[in-house]
Every structure is written in C-alpha cells, then in structure tokens.
C-alpha cells in the first residue's frame, strides 16, 4: 500500500447560470438553471513517502479541487483517498496534524499580530512540545532567514517575507506531507529561488513528502522530476518530466555570434530565422540534427565568437501538451 493512494477521486460542482437581462433575472425566482461540472473526474495515482510531485494543469483543470480533497477540506463525491492510513475528510482532525499546507493566494498567519505570536498560537493549536517547538522554530528561522521579521506584524511584511513565514508556519508541527498550492505566485526571482532551495532541503533532510501545484514551470523543473498533468478534471499524464519534455521539444533555437562569414551553410531541417551583421538565429529540428552537428558545420564556415542554445523550456512543452489533449 502506497503512502498516498488516490483511487477514482471525483468531485462534481453544481454551477448556477442564467442568461443576461432583466427577464432572465426574474425567471430565476421561479426556476434556476444548474449545470453540473466535473471538477475532478476519476483521478487515480499513488505517491511514495519522501517524493516530490508536481501537480500541473491549466486554470480550472481541477488542481486546487484535488488538493482540497487531499487536505480534507472537501468531501469527494466518489472514490477514495487514503493517506498514511487515514481518510482526510472523515478523520480530519487527526489527519491535519500530519500535514502542512500553503495556499499561495491565501494567508494562514493572523494579520494583526507579529509573526512570532502566530507561531506561538500554532504551537498551542498543534500541541507541540515546548522543547520540540523551540528546536524546530530555530531551525526554520535559520533556514528561511526570518530573524529580522519575527517581531513584525504580518500586515507589514512584503509578499516574499510573508511567503517565507507561511512556509515556516506550515512546518512547525513537523508534518509528514507538505501541500504547496502555488507557493511562488507573485514572488520575485530571488525569493523564488530561496523558496525552492528551502523546499528541496526540507524534503531531503526530513523526508517530507511534497505535493505542489504551480504555473511556474521553472519551479517544477527545479524541484522534481515527477509530474502529474491534469486537464478538464482528468489525469492526462503521470511520469517523468524529462520524457514529456523530450516528446514535445522537437525544435530548439540556436544563436550564433560570429566575426566573419563566407557563406551561410545550408543544412537540412535547419531554418534561418534572422540574420544580422554578426548574428544568426537558427531554428533546429531536433529529429534529424544535433546541436553539435550544426555548430561544427558553422565553425567551418565562419569564425564563431559565441553560441547560445535557447531551450523553449517547460512552458512550451505544456502548451504542446495541452494542444495534444485539446484543452
């Protein structure tokens, strides 16, 4: 039995709709039109202890709904999830002591009081032993660099500072599983890197299982190799990041900066996109070419000063993936 076993999880929402206009508004007094939307449609997967798994999909794909069911907030209409032997919704109170949750778009800290008071309150909520609490708090403060902001009321923190505090708050009770719902949303590049580094470290050191959702592909690339892709509530893909990347990155862009060129060489399946005085931009079809192959041909033709391979990155992969499944 896996650490996290999700079997045919389904959640349907009823959504009210009405056409615009006064007449239709009055109609709703007597009869309401509802449509049923399957937010999550028979999704199954298994996750082992200590894994980091990225859960990705476009807006409205059912990511957050799944997370809400996994964290015991929503009751599934169908299917079961069993996490560390517990059913999240039915055993909510017992279960939530084992998990930590960060919703990037919401705050779990108390707005009016200093961060440290929030932490103290969490200590009492989770009934953490004082000695354990002090030890963990010190560790987290050091790793996340919180020393200067501990005494500041939450409302005066910057977004990056707040997010670091949110993550610390979710880990005070040493959870076995950490759910991160868009943890880097709105953060600048430096804060993003810091948050990622910390998540990796906590996973390695404490064997915390991490499930994260993000629209930021660099987050996912930096953190994990296993992704689960969901769209229209259905699971589309579950496997390594590299293999979907390989499948969908068929082209790469190659930039060559040169001093002098005799003649632009013609290579099959390599298209010239731009040419200026000292710069050429190529589109290389990776099916029949390798980068080194193209570079070696060009180095015969000109004196290369610099080359630059532009990886289209995960964003394109995801766009391609969505296209294939017609999302």
């Amino acid at each position: 039995m896996s650490f996290i076993a999700v079997d045919n999880l389904t959640k349907t929402f009823r959504i009210q709709r009405r056409n615009s206009g006064l007449k239709n508004a009055i109609k709703t007094f007597f009869k309401r039109d509802c449509v049923e939307v399957k937010a999550v449609d028979h999704v199954s997967f298994e996750i082992e202890e200590g894994e980091i798994v990225a859960y990705i999909g476009p807006n409205g794909a059912g990511k957050s709904t799944t997370i809400k069911m996994l964290t015991g907030i929503l009751r599934p209409d169908e299917g079961v999830c069993l996490i560390d032997g517990l059913n999240p919704f039915d055993d909510r109170k017992k279960y939530v002591s084992k998990i930590g949750v960060v919703f990037g778009q919401k705050s779990q800290l108390w707005w009016d009081i200093p961060v440290e008071d929030s932490f103290d309150l969490l200590r009492d909520i989770y009934k953490i032993k004082e000695s354990d609490y002090l030890k963990i708090k010190e560790e987290l403060v050091k790793m996340l660099n919180l020393n200067d902001i501990l005494k500041t009321p939450v409302r005066q923190l910057s977004l990056g500072q707040r997010m670091r505090c949110e993550i610390a708050a979710s880990l005070l009770h040493s959870p076995k599983i950490l759910f991160l719902d868009e943890p880097t949303i709105g953060l600048d590049a430096v804060s993003k890197v810091e948050v990622r580094k910390f998540i990796k470290e906590i996973n390695k050191q404490k064997k915390v299982t991490v499930i994260l959702t993000s629209h930021d592909m660099s987050d996912i690339e930096a953190l994990t190799n296993r992704v689960i892709v969901i769209g229209h509530g259905k699971k589309l893909y579950d496997g390594s990041l590299n293999s979907i990347k390989k499948k969908f990155t068929s082209h790469k862009k190659l930039e060559i900066i040169y001093k002098k060129i005799k003649k632009v060489p013609k290579i099959k399946d390599v298209d010239l996109i731009e040419k200026s005085d000292h710069r050429i931009l190529l589109d290389v079809d990776m099916k029949n070419n390798t980068i080194s192959n193209v570079v070696s041909i060009y180095s015969d033709a000109c004196e290369i000063e610099d080359i630059n391979v532009i990886d289209e990155g995960m964003d394109n992969v995801i766009i391609e993936l969505y296209k294939e499944y017609q999302l």
Binding site: F13, K68, T71, V101, S107, Q108, D117, D120, K127, E182
Partner: protein, 266 residues
C-alpha cells in the same frame, strides 16, 4: 483546549488595540443614554407604567449603554465572512480544531475586549449623576451576583445566535439581506429599541418565549430587582437550555455547510 485559550487571549489583546473606536463608542453611548433618559422622563410625567418604575428604567438605560458592546446584536465579523467568501476558511479547516468552537471563541473574545474598553467610564459617570437620572446600586449583593451571571450567560446566548447568522454566508455568499431581517427581529425582541416591559402585550409574550431578551433585558432587570431572585434563577435555567440548544443547532448547520458547500477560490 490550550489552543482555544491562547486564541482567546490573542483576540482579546488584538481587540484592546482599537482605542479610538472605543472612545467614539463611548460618546455615542453617553448621547443615547441621556436622550433615552429624557424621553422616558417625558413619558413618565404623564403616565406611570406598572411593570417598570422610572428609577429602574433609568438604571436599565445606563446598564444598556455601559454593556452595549456585549449585548449588541447587529455584529458581523468581517474576518469570518471574508474567510467564507474568499475561501481562506480552507486554512482553518487544515488545522486540528473544531471550526465552530474556534469562531465562537473569536466572537466572544471580540465582544469582551470591546466591552472592557467601554463599560467603566459610563458606569462611573452615570453613578454620579443627580438622583432621578443616575444609575442606582444593585438591589442586593445577591442580585448583583445574579446580574453578572445572567450577563455572562447572555453573552453566550448572543454569540451562539451570531454564529448561526454568520454561517448563513456559507450558503448564500451574500448574507446581507437575510442577516438584516434576522438582526431586526432579534433587536426588537431583545428590547434594544424599547425595554420589553414597555412593549405591547403581544410582543412581550413573543419576546418572553424567544431567547433574545435573555441577552440584555434579563440581566439589567435582575440588577435593579425588577425581576426578583426566584425568577432570575428560573431564567438562568432558560439561558442554559437556550445556550445548549443554539450551539447544537449552530454546530449542525456548520457541519452541513462544510459537507455540502464548496470552498471558494483557486
């Protein structure tokens, strides 16, 4: 349990920050206090009322103003309502506590913090006013103890009612209309506009049947002896029964809401 206690303390401390609001509140309370006393004096100079005499009524008015923050029914906790509407409630559900108890504590702490900042100046000033307009001493030390007991139990009744009203937001996402109606009925029958003994008979009858008058009307009349010791003890029993009943109803509504209702927001 310790978690609830710490939360209660935190909320009290937070509430005590709002000093300017308290000063503004005080001014309003004095204004209404004097206004009511003068209006009632005009009424009483033409006709006497057998159910409550003038000095008792004045005491009633001043106690009502002093403990206004505690018995004020029209209270919405924007934090709770926002949590429901925006989905931040998701976080609260990821914590090992009972959401009903948690919010109950929060509302109670807010009320206590607000009343702690306000009641003393009004009591002191009202006490030293010239005689027919002043706050009287309690009828006996026993009636004072019963006054405190009924006042505290009354706050439990009130918060249990407020919890039900807040939870409606789970179902409608805009609880404004419904709560407006409920608040109005509750205030009328609690004696917030006019003490119950001055109301028409039929409304008095309905009022005595429902829990709203147990919030403020009861303790203030116990204080002056307008409700005697025996009746006070019976009413304490009523209060206890209503508290249990309202909490059971509130918990049931919340449980139902959390099972049926979606949590908002991405």
């Amino acid at each position: 349990m310790i978690g609830y206690l710490t939360y209660f303390k935190t909320q009290i401390v937070t509430g005590l920050q709002y000093k300017v609001a308290a000063i503004a509140g005080l001014c309003t309370q004095f204004f209404w206090g004097f206004l009511f006393v003068m209006i009632y004096q005009a009424f009483y100079s033409y006709a006497d009322n057998s159910t409550i005499n003038f000095p008792d009524l004045v005491t009633y008015v001043w106690l009502n103003q002093a403990f206004f923050a505690l018995i004020y029914i029209r209270m919405k906790d924007t934090e709770i309502l926002d949590a429901i509407k925006t989905g931040t409630v998701a976080y609260e559900l990821c914590r090992p506590y009972d959401l009903y108890n948690w919010w109950y504590i929060k509302l109670l702490a807010k009320k206590y913090a607000a009343v702690m900042l306000r009641f003393l100046p009004i009591i002191v000033v009202a006490f030293f006013l010239p005689v027919p307009y002043s706050l009287a001493l309690p009828q006996s030390s026993l009636s004072f103890i019963l006054f405190l007991t009924t006042l505290i139990l009354g706050s439990f009744v009130l918060v249990a009612i407020l919890m039900i009203i807040q939870t409606i937001a789970f179902f409608t996402y805009n609880e404004g209309g419904i709560s407006q109606i409920l608040f109005l009925i509750a205030e009328l029958l609690a004696g917030s506009f006019l003490p119950l003994p001055l109301m028409p008979n039929i409304i008095q009858k309905i009022g005595y049947f429902l829990p709203f008058r147990l919030i403020g009307d009861l303790p203030f009349r116990v204080y002056s002896g307008n409700i005697n010791i025996n009746d006070a003890l019976t009413n304490i029993m009523f209060q206890s029964v209503w508290i249990i009943l309202l909490i059971i109803i509130g918990k049931y509504i919340m449980k139902y809401a959390l099972q049926k209702v979606a949590i908002q927001g991405g």
